[in-house]
Structures are given as structure tokens and as C-alpha cells.
Amino acid sequence: MTKSIIGLILFCLVCFRVSAQTKDGIKFTFTCQDKALKLNEMIYYSSNKQSYKVCQCQFFLSNIEIIYKDKKRKKIENSIHYTDIEIPKSLVWYPENGFNLENADSLEFTFGFDSTQNRSYRFKNPPENLMFWPDYLGGGYHYMKTNILYLDKDNNINAFNCHIGRGQIYNSENKPIKYIDNDFRIKIPIKRVDNFAVINLDISTIFDYPNAVLFSDYGGIMNNQKAMKMFCENIKAAFEK
């Protein structure tokens, strides 16, 4: 009897260990100019030859789907994920109901949220609630905050914020009369490392491709739909790279 109980416990422990080992997840990584990103080091140059350092990067992804080789899709339920380069636990994500990476071919997700999900006041707690997007500018949340410091032509230090969220169309009195959702879908081939599908963001691409940015043309861009649209093109390329 005792032997049976011990056997059962050992069996359970082995099963638990195996299941813990095989749980699949998503890992978020960052590169800059094709190498692992080094935060807070003034070592990068934009294609417009401006020296910069990356200080912060935070973003939301949502509606994540795994596409398998047989074209079947697995939608990850309630999949809104917040990633903050400075919060290690946000860089690894095990979705609530799990998913299997075996025979997975690609990963598709929304950058930010779709219009129905992007509701003000849905996040009450930090760090997610710190991503709020002001109601006057359309409400909801920032899809992304990427903050850098760069040197201008006189070698002065300046700040540049690539903040993306809902855009605005203004009337002649400079009042917003219409809002535009800037979310978009991104599809990337599965890059698998151990039990993780890796989503990498190449920060330098945000500033270089396909649109080369001159930081000094901007300060913030939250009320500049044209700029946000342009950065969205670059962000898509930065995830797809």
C-alpha cells in the first residue's frame, strides 16, 4: 500500500515536471542595428547620422494567433500582452490557456488593440494603466512608447518620443473632430527557441526603414497623425525584420 502511494506521488511529480518543461510560451526580445539592444548607451546612429540611445520601450500586442503548417489557426484567448523592456517578467508570457508550438508556422498579432478593445479606464493598475492615452487625443491606451535621447547637430542632448495610439483629425480651430485607430496586424514566421516563440523588435528599424527619421523634426508625435502613420510603417518592419 505504502509503495503504491509513493509510486503514485513520484508519477505525479514526474508528470508535473514534464508538463512544466513542455509548456510553450512567447518571449520578447529587442535588437538594435542587428545586435542585442544595449539600453541607455549612446552608441547608435540613425540612418540620418544622428547619435542616439534607447532609454525605454513599452508596447501592447493583442489578438495573438498561432498559424500551423496545415493552415489551422489557434487564437489565444484574452490575449492582450504588455511588454516593458525594463520589466523582466513582461518579457516572457505564458498565455492563460496555453498553446502548442509543435508544427507552428507563423504568429499573427495586432500591434496595440483593435477599436473595440482600446477603451479608456480598462486597466486600473500599473504598469498597464501608465500607458493611458488622453481622452482629448482619442482615449484608450498608448500602443507603444519608445523613448530615446539623441544628440543634435550642436551636440546638445534632446528627447524624442515615439508614442503611438489613436490618431486625430483636426478642424481649422485645431480641435479634434475625428479619431483614427492606428492598430494593424503583423504576421511573422515562427522563430522558435526552446519552448518559446520569439517576437523580436528591432528598435533601429523604427527610426530608419522604410522611412528615415530626423529626430529633430519632432518632439512628441501624439497629436501628429501623419507622423504616427509613418512610424507605424516602420514599426511593422521592425517586428517583421
Binding site: 541607455n40 532609454c55 525605454q56 479608456s120 479606464y121 486600473k124 493598475n125 500599473p126 494603466n129 501608465l130 493611458f132 488622453p134 481622452d135 482629448y136 487625443l137 523613448n147 530615446i148 535621447l149 546638445n156 542632448i157 534632446n158 528627447a159 524624442f160 518620443n161 518632439g219 512628441g220 501624439m222 497629436n223
Partner: protein
């Protein structure tokens, strides 16, 4: 006769037990409900000090008790400097630079931070976040306090023993303070109701005061009433809100918005007011990261009207001076926060009318109900 002696023995035992535990049967802690539905759920309440109605009540008495300094010739309580009418800062009436002078004659190194809504701060207390959950330090050589788990530096509880010992605060003696509180029989029942014991020590004194401080909640400002649909704001106040929450003034990234109703992110930031950081007691002192030079905790803008002077060193006496600094006085340094995009051109460069509107909005964050709330006033 024998029966009489047995009766006497039992009676004595009963009376003695009553003397040490005044109401043993009545220790039924009732959880204290902070209850602000639109504030975050993530509160900073240590597991070993849950808030109870009686814990907060005891803490209130202790907060206002001048015997806490442990020095009858120099009585001082928390409330000596933390004044309710100033959102539990000292104001400028007595100390014109906002930096109180302690019992030793030393000034506090920085101006005070308001004691409001601290229960929602999970990123560290004091201007530089010295008091935080990850601080392993026990005791203080500087204050002559031996390393002991009671004398930690992790939460609001820690600020009590520090305040008693700090030369720029009470400059007192912890054991004397405990003795003086113990002497007052009035406290025995309060301690029992709060903690289920009549034992009085610095650990429980700290816990009770911390509970009271966590209960200091401001959520009824004019702006809160506007958000609840109870009142309208003026056109000027609305314009100020618009400026505040756009990159025109760009206050919201650090100080919040209606979606972040604490009106602080509780983060540590360098807001471009200095270029020389030599000798500053800033965030880098805690993190040892040189990139954190000039960083200080972003203070709440709730009750900003009552909490002059402003900035960690109190350099600005009025809100107008603060606004003028953000409008034209931002200084570049390698340590500026990357969010401070207005530093690129020296400030916000708003018009006088814009500044008036911005100020009008800031004043809607004043919570008069809080500063007159009897639950927070002197109970003695």
C-alpha cells in the same frame, strides 16, 4: 472557609487576567475598507500589518501624540510637522522654506512630501525611494539603531522609528518613547483592540501609525466631482485639462490624467531643473546608478494648492513659479528624463492665458473635504 479561599483565588486570577488583557473576548479585528472604486487595486499593505478599524484608530492617536519623541522637554509628534491643512506637509507658515527644523536644530534635507494616497505607492517612499520593499538595510549606524528586523527600511512602518531617531526630526530615544506611551493606561485597550495584545512596543506603534497614514485618502477634489458628473468645470479649467493632457504642456506622462487619478505615476524622474547634481540626495544614491542623477519621485498634484513650496528642495514658493519654470526654465543635462520633450527647446512656451488655464485646472485637484475630514484630525 476553604470555599471562600478558592473563590478568592479564582476571583484574583480573573481580575489579574482582566488587567493584562482588558477585553480578551472582544478582540475581533474589523478590516478597514479604504474603498475608492476608481483607484488602483494594487495597494501597498504589508501582509503582517493588515489595516483594521481599531489599528487605524490607534494609529491616529499615536500620530498626534507628542510623547512619541520620548523626550518630555522636547515633545514632538508626527503631526507637529505633518499638518492636515497642508495635505500632511508642514506648509510655509512656520518654516518658510518648507524644510522643518528637528529637535536637534538640524533642518530636514528636503521639503516634505504630502502624506496622501500613499497606500497606492508601490515604488518606494521618500523623494529618492530609499524606503522600499527591496531595501535590505536593518538599523542605522548614523541614528545609533542596531540591526534588527523591526528596524527595517521597507515601508511606511519604517518611517516611524526613523522619525523618532532622526536628528532633523524628533531626535528622540525609541525606548523612552515606548516607555512614555506604555505609561498611559488609555493605550492598553486601544492596543488590545488593534493587535490583540496589551504589549506595547515600537513594532506595534509603527504598525498602527502606518495604518493611519495608509488611511489618509484623497478622492473628493473638484475634479473628482466633475468626473462623477456632479459638477461642471469652467471653460478655463477645461482648457487647462486639455493642455495638461496633450503634448502642449505634456504634464500627463509623469503626473497622470483622469485615467490615473492619483495624479502621479509614482515614478522617479529628472525633470530638467539642474545641470549640477553634486551632493544631491537623489535616486542615484539609492540605486547606485549614475544615470539616476537628479531623479526624484514625481509628487502627486492632488492638493498641490496646499503643499508649497515645490520641488524636492522647495526652490519654488508658488505655483506660478513652477509653471514659469516648466514654461521657460528647463535645462538640458545628460540625465534628463527621455519623456521631457519640452526640454529640447527650454520649456512649454505657452502663452500667459494658457498658463492661467493650466493653473485653473491644477486648482481643481484641491480636495477641501480631505483637509477638513474629521477622521484625520487630532483626536486628543
Amino acid at each position: 472557609m476553604k470555599t471562600f479561599f478558592i473563590f478568592l483565588l479564582y476571583s484574583s486570577c480573573f481580575l489579574l487576567s482582566c488587567a493584562t488583557q482588558p477585553s480578551k473576548m472582544s478582540f475581533k479585528p474589523i478590516p478597514y475598507d479604504i474603498g475608492v472604486p476608481f483607484f488602483p487595486d494594487s495597494m501597498n499593505i504589508p501582509e503582517n500589518n493588515p489595516m483594521t478599524v481599531d489599528g487605524v484608530r490607534l494609529g491616529r492617536y499615536l500620530f498626534y501624540d507628542e510623547r512619541l519623541s520620548g523626550n518630555p522637554s522636547k515633545p514632538m509628534s508626527c503631526a507637529t510637522c505633518h499638518k492636515q491643512e497642508h495635505s500632511f506637509e508642514c506648509g510655509m507658515e512656520v518654516f518658510s522654506d518648507g524644510r522643518p527644523i528637528g529637535n536637534s536644530g538640524k533642518k530636514t534635507p528636503n521639503v516634505m512630501l504630502p502624506l496622501i494616497n500613499l497606500v497606492w505607492n508601490n515604488s518606494g517612499y521618500f523623494w529618492n525611494g530609499l524606503i522600499n520593499k527591496d531595501n535590505p538595510q536593518l538599523g542605522s549606524e548614523k541614528y545609533g539603531v542596531k540591526p534588527d528586523s523591526v528596524f527595517n527600511m521597507t515601508n511606511i512602518e519604517s518611517t516611524v522609528w526613523m522619525a523618532i531617531r532622526a536628528p532633523h526630526e524628533m531626535d528622540g530615544d525609541i525606548s523612552q518613547a515606548v516607555k512614555m506611551i506604555k505609561k498611559d493606561n488609555f493605550y492598553r485597550e486601544l492596543f488590545f483592540k488593534a493587535f490583540g495584545t496589551t504589549e506595547i512596543n515600537i513594532d506595534l506603534i509603527s504598525k498602527a501609525i502606518a495604518q493611519f497614514i495608509r488611511s489618509l485618502v484623497s478622492f473628493e477634489s473638484q475634479f473628482d466631482q466633475f468626473m462623477a458628473g456632479k459638477i461642471q468645470l469652467t471653460e478655463s479649467q477645461m482648457r487647462g485639462l486639455m493642455l495638461f493632457t496633450t503634448e502642449g504642456a505634456d504634464c500627463f506622462h509623469c503626473h497622470g490624467s483622469p485615467a490615473l487619478p492619483l495624479w502621479t505615476t509614482n515614478m522617479f524622474m529628472n525633470n530638467a531643473k539642474d545641470v549640477d547634481f553634486e551632493g544631491q540626495n537623489d535616486r542615484s544614491v539609492v540605486t547606485k546608478n549614475p544615470m539616476d542623477k537628479g531623479k526624484y519621485r514625481v509628487p502627486t498634484l492632488r492638493n498641490i494648492e496646499y503643499t508649497a513650496p515645490y520641488m524636492h528642495d522647495g526652490r519654488f514658493k508658488t505655483l506660478d513659479e513652477v509653471l514659469e519654470f516648466y514654461n521657460n526654465g528647463l535645462k538640458r543635462s545628460p540625465y534628463i528624463d527621455p519623456l521631457s520633450i519640452n526640454t529640447n527647446h527650454g520649456g512649454m512656451h505657452l502663452t500667459d492665458n494658457d498658463l492661467k488655464d493650466l493653473k485653473a485646472f491644477l486648482l481643481t485637484l484641491s480636495d477641501t473635504a480631505f483637509i477638513h475630514d474629521k477622521r484625520y484630525s487630532n483626536p486628543w
